[in-house]
Symmetry: D2
Subunit: 261 residues, 4 copies
């Protein structure tokens, strides 16, 4: 399906502030960027580089005062995500080299502390996709989607304790439990068609049956219409922007609309 | 300066034909892509990857019949290129690791055969920028810009012998002579503002004084307003597209216009 | 100076167990591997790959029963580490692209929670090397070097609370406080000449004044004679080996001896 | 099988001369370095980096006078190479991204000029492995193995014309003809057990049936016992060393012996 998706952020800085943004979606094996625009207002010098996960990162210094970043893209993406309930666990010895890093614990996903919990939640499922789906379903069922419960420093442990959080937090729980079961899992931030209320979104992918599959604990059913903007181990790797100084987001709009190809 | 640049190619294929295109300019340290669109008509599945030089490459299968690729980008780029006539030769031992590959001979640039020629042309110039400029100036002065002299299989040797060629061929001579003098040199294909007649363009960069500088043997004076689409060792690495089957270019339009930021 | 350094691990596995080891030091800009041997007993198939930090990683399946890995290397390394007390803070905007990742919080280094602490510890020092040295000195002075206080799941917060730990834990505190001050910092595991008692070691590097400097909070004075085996964000990235099954270390010997070149 | 292989080069330089060497074999999917030593006499500062093909490259400045490089490795490698006569052509659209570069013409392999020749030689063979084997066999049968015919600047065209050459030249012909048939092919330099007379060796690999297979036009039969030291597009990428100044090889010894594991 073809989507027109984007976000616009109005920032305010007390002083010139270095920013590293990850806001440019990239063509790859699962999505194709037909067109895009990346506007800075006022325009300031900006350079782009690729991080270790393959994300396009923009480096700039936000000027003092008001500053606006607006990114919009038309993309071709799958209208339905792949579902393969019998995809087996990929044995560690058969994982591709570059997938191995997604087995490790990370800032918000202390998988090393959650083995028992993972067994509780997914213990009866067949190793592989079914385990991940058990985890996803359990989070969806048992956690309350609620803003303001988990702050920026909270990860999977805090979310498990609170029993509530938002897409980022649901993902951290899913990522942690998967890795506890030796299933590589990575975080995705991006846009989801018909998300309600519309906002930036986060979900996760798990590597089973020899490939990555998409899982979203905030949704009742598998849903396509996704645009990946950045991949990483957890929220620490995929911040929309990391600011190094006194900058505030005054307003942020996000939109995802289907358009004709 | 802000440029709106692009190209449109009308192709015709006798059968479905795999293509690998390098047509998407990329934001980096010297140019910023404000917006771009990459259209395929009819639309076919396409994936993008990054080659060893950092170029964005598009893989697709052109359908039988007529096929059109249209790429357009608005970019911020320097209106003047850096010129530093006293930039010294960077000693081999101080070259960055990833620059070393641009010392090697390549398909169209048999630098190993041209040491004597390079000494003749640039022998009196100071090692570094001045040598490259001597080479560039010599090509500009002594070679005739003429289509149809050098075919797709012709490189620096054929161009030297013919004393004529086009931007691609002038670049091959420049690249070869630089490398013969142990100056790393790489080819760039892209767009040049006010090129006359307008077309895709090729030029080269040489690494002296600790950085890459731009050189264009087709031009009388240093000129900015450049958009790099791909970098490589020579034309073999940076083909607009490589086709693996019976495909023909029926028509190709290129445009580069200044627009307001 | 030339060192002969190595380690020998005797493992015991209840069942064939996939292992990913990081035990092969690599030649790079700061050390040169003159010779090395990497023995597996019994010998089993093993493949090597390079992770995102550039570390050499060995993948193998430890057989059921006893298994021994013995790595030994002769290396040329600096007998004294660089010390530059007035090296300034490198502004965010001037950091190399691949250094930026070392500003982020990580599994054992929740730098996002430690800004205040970092200001307390280093607040009076000049931005840059002096801040890192203030942090390093403070850890050395205020923390007790003691085994068994912090377990494998403990990071900088637990170490700060306990006021004690070992080289790994001291590093996590140092890494976290540096990153809180916007100084990129990375963990190093390896070997240190004359470490007493001899063991595998961990320390950290901070990027100030445009380059990486070595800091070791376990030592009273700057000391050279170091061999880096792996680099990463924290202990999660640089485990000597990650095991995916029931394997135990029965015994581990480490040695570092000066030899003549 | 386990091999002890190595080479020793005695060089002589009229002045300090920068060298870039590719002499350190690397553990990967097809060979495992059990132990190795890399000696420089006299010892000079040296740094190592990885090139775009994954080769370990050593940068150093050879001192004025006599200089010796001695590399020796014990490796585990396959005693027989894989042979799969019915492995089919891998369609362009299914080639892995990083294999595509090995379809391009290169310095010594102007594949773009040899389509007709490739069809003559392999036209009747089934697309894939059988074509490559037809090419390999044809070279083995029709070319004379002879030193001194093709010089360092000669490639596949010169070798085809002369009907003679050495391992490097036979490889260039094989590489070129494969690429002409849209079969990715890469050069390997390294050591071959029982090569007679013993020397550094070169052969090529072709990508068919979804993987790389080894081919050696200098040998009558498929032979294992190979140690890869470097991979590249052709000899330009994999020189044992590239020298940037007046250095001569006075003597070179190579040895490959089977040892017990």
């Amino acid at each position: 399906m073809r989507l027109d998706a984007g976000c616009e952020m109005s920032l305010s800085a007390d002083a010139p502030t270095p920013l590293i943004a990850m806001l440019r979606p990239r063509s790859n094996r699962v999505q194709w960027v037909v067109s895009e625009t990346y506007q800075l207002e006022p325009f300031v010098p900006v350079v782009e580089y690729v991080d270790v996960f393959g994300n396009l990162c923009q480096r700039l210094v936000a000027p003092q005062g008001s500053f606006r970043i607006r990114v919009e893209a038309k993309l071709e993406t799958a209208s339905e995500i792949a579902v393969q309930r019998d995809a087996p666990l990929t044995p560690i010895a058969e994982l591709p080299d570059n997938v191995l890093q997604f087995l490790l614990p990370s800032r918000y996903c202390p998988a090393d502390k959650l083995e028992q919990k993972a067994r509780e939640v997914a213990g009866k499922a067949a190793p592989g996709y079914a385990q991940v789906e058990a985890i996803r379903g359990w989070i969806h069922e048992h956690f309350e989607y609620k803003y303001g419960v988990i702050d920026a420093s909270g990860g999977a442990l805090e979310t498990l304790e609170a029993g509530a959080g938002v897409c980022r937090d649901f993902s951290h729980v899913g990522l942690s439990l998967c890795r506890s079961l030796r299933i590589p899992a990575r975080m995705v931030v991006g846009w989801l068609h018909k998300l309600d209320p519309m906002d930036m979104h986060a979900w996760f992918e798990a590597f089973v049956g020899g490939r990555w599959y998409t899982f979203d604990a905030t949704q009742a059913e598998p849903r396509g219409g996704r645009v990946a903007v950045a991949y990483g181990r957890d929220a620490a790797d995929v911040a929309l922007f990391s600011e190094y100084g006194p900058v505030k987001v005054k307003k942020m709009d996000v939109w995802v609309n289907e358009v004709s190809a």
